[in-house]
Amino acid sequence: MEQGLLQLWASTGLYNFTPGQAIMIAVGAGLIYLAVARRFEPLLLIPIGFGGILANIPIAGIAGPEGLLGILYNAGIESGVFPLLIFMGVGAMTDFGPLLARPSLMILGAAAQFGIFFTLFGAIAMNLLPGMEFTMADAAAIAIIGGADGPTAIYVASRLAPDLLGAIAVAAYSYMALVPIIQPPIMKLLTTEEERKTKMTQLRHVGRLEKILFPLLLLLVTILLLPSATPLVGMLCFGNLLKECGVVERLSNTAQNELINIVTIFLGLAVGSKLAADKFLSAETLGILLLGMVAFSIGTAAGVIMGKIMYRVTGKAVNPLIGAAGVSAVPMAARVANKIGLQANPQNFLLMHAMGPNVAGVIGSAVAAGVLLAIVG
């Protein structure tokens, strides 16, 4: 009996906890709090936070190779399958109409990717600080946070720096949720009241055939110039083709509902498995959080500055605020541009105009991911 009691006691969490595990369980709970009370990207941060709690339970080994989270991680993230399926679902949910109505605004979605590559440089420069040791692969994986796109970040991190995946995913989704906090001051700082008041002309109607052809064109260009981006871009295009072609509605519905929901649950739990204390509680995580913030800010600034250039070039036909939406973070960044525009001019509805650069930003960061995978991977 005594022996059994001892065995039971030795198998309690109380007996086996490490301080790191306790802290990480608190961090997981904190993510859940932010997701529920503050609506921080709850679809991802609740599963990630809960997965983080499960991963740090002593003895149970839920994040180990034979535990549920470990199995999900190996099957879906190490293989790259989950982020690609999410991207398919994103494609099936995305309307590229606003982008097609005024394709020149895609340039804003390109400019905002400057956040990614500047951050790459910044991450390498951080090696000058003591205690930081980022390889080029680490730096690339961190930089992709600046893409403001969750599945892209997870896909790249799983390929280049799996050990940092937990921190990168948490940073990416957290900053996406923080876009309404991070972006406005930068946008206001870089634009004049007059610029912000700029109204834009209504978007032209886009025909169905153009919408069907777009994913195929996008894939074609990516195939010709950057095959390493085709897994991501390809699945985005596939999902979008399912949506736009109009003849496979049942597949499109499944891709953007049940399938993406199932994969989101699994992906979130599996990402949570990388919130194990020994990997997460390190100076690198602080660096990642800092660099992620830099990436978002620089990306926003680059987008706005390109917006100012277009404002001049087009003779005030483009409101520079929509440049900030180029970071992606769909549709949050477009909403922020709309809100700041309304503050300057209550008749100034920028939402649909910002959606073009916004979805262009998704393409832009997938392309950037392709470059990083091709050269660093």
Binding site: M1, G4, L5, L8, P19, G20, I23, A26, V27, G30, L34, V36, A37, R38, R39, F40, V170, S174, A177, L178, P180, I181, A277, L281, S282, A283, T285, L286, L289, M293, M332
Partner: protein, 75 residues
């Protein structure tokens, strides 16, 4: 293993198991009672609002950052 040993072990498991079940559920009864007293009758307006505006401060990053600092100090 001898049958006597197995029987003894299973009796022991009976005690330990029922003990664990009761301890955990009784602990839970206590915790639920405490929570039900602390928690306001209806959920706080922050969480209940159907379309709350996103976070208004940086306590998120602050939380993560302080957690890491705390941990690093302890090691």
């Amino acid at each position: 293993m001898e049958i006597e040993q197995l029987l003894a072990q299973s009796l022991q498991l009976l005690g330990l198991g029922m003990g664990a079940v009761f301890i955990i559920l009784i602990l839970l009864i206590g915790l639920i009672s405490i929570v039900s007293k602390i928690v306001p009758d209806e959920v706080s307006s922050v969480a209940a609002a159907p379309a709350v505006k996103p976070a208004v401060n940086n306590d998120h990053i602050a939380a993560l950052t302080s957690a890491i600092h705390q941990y690093r100090k302890r090691r």
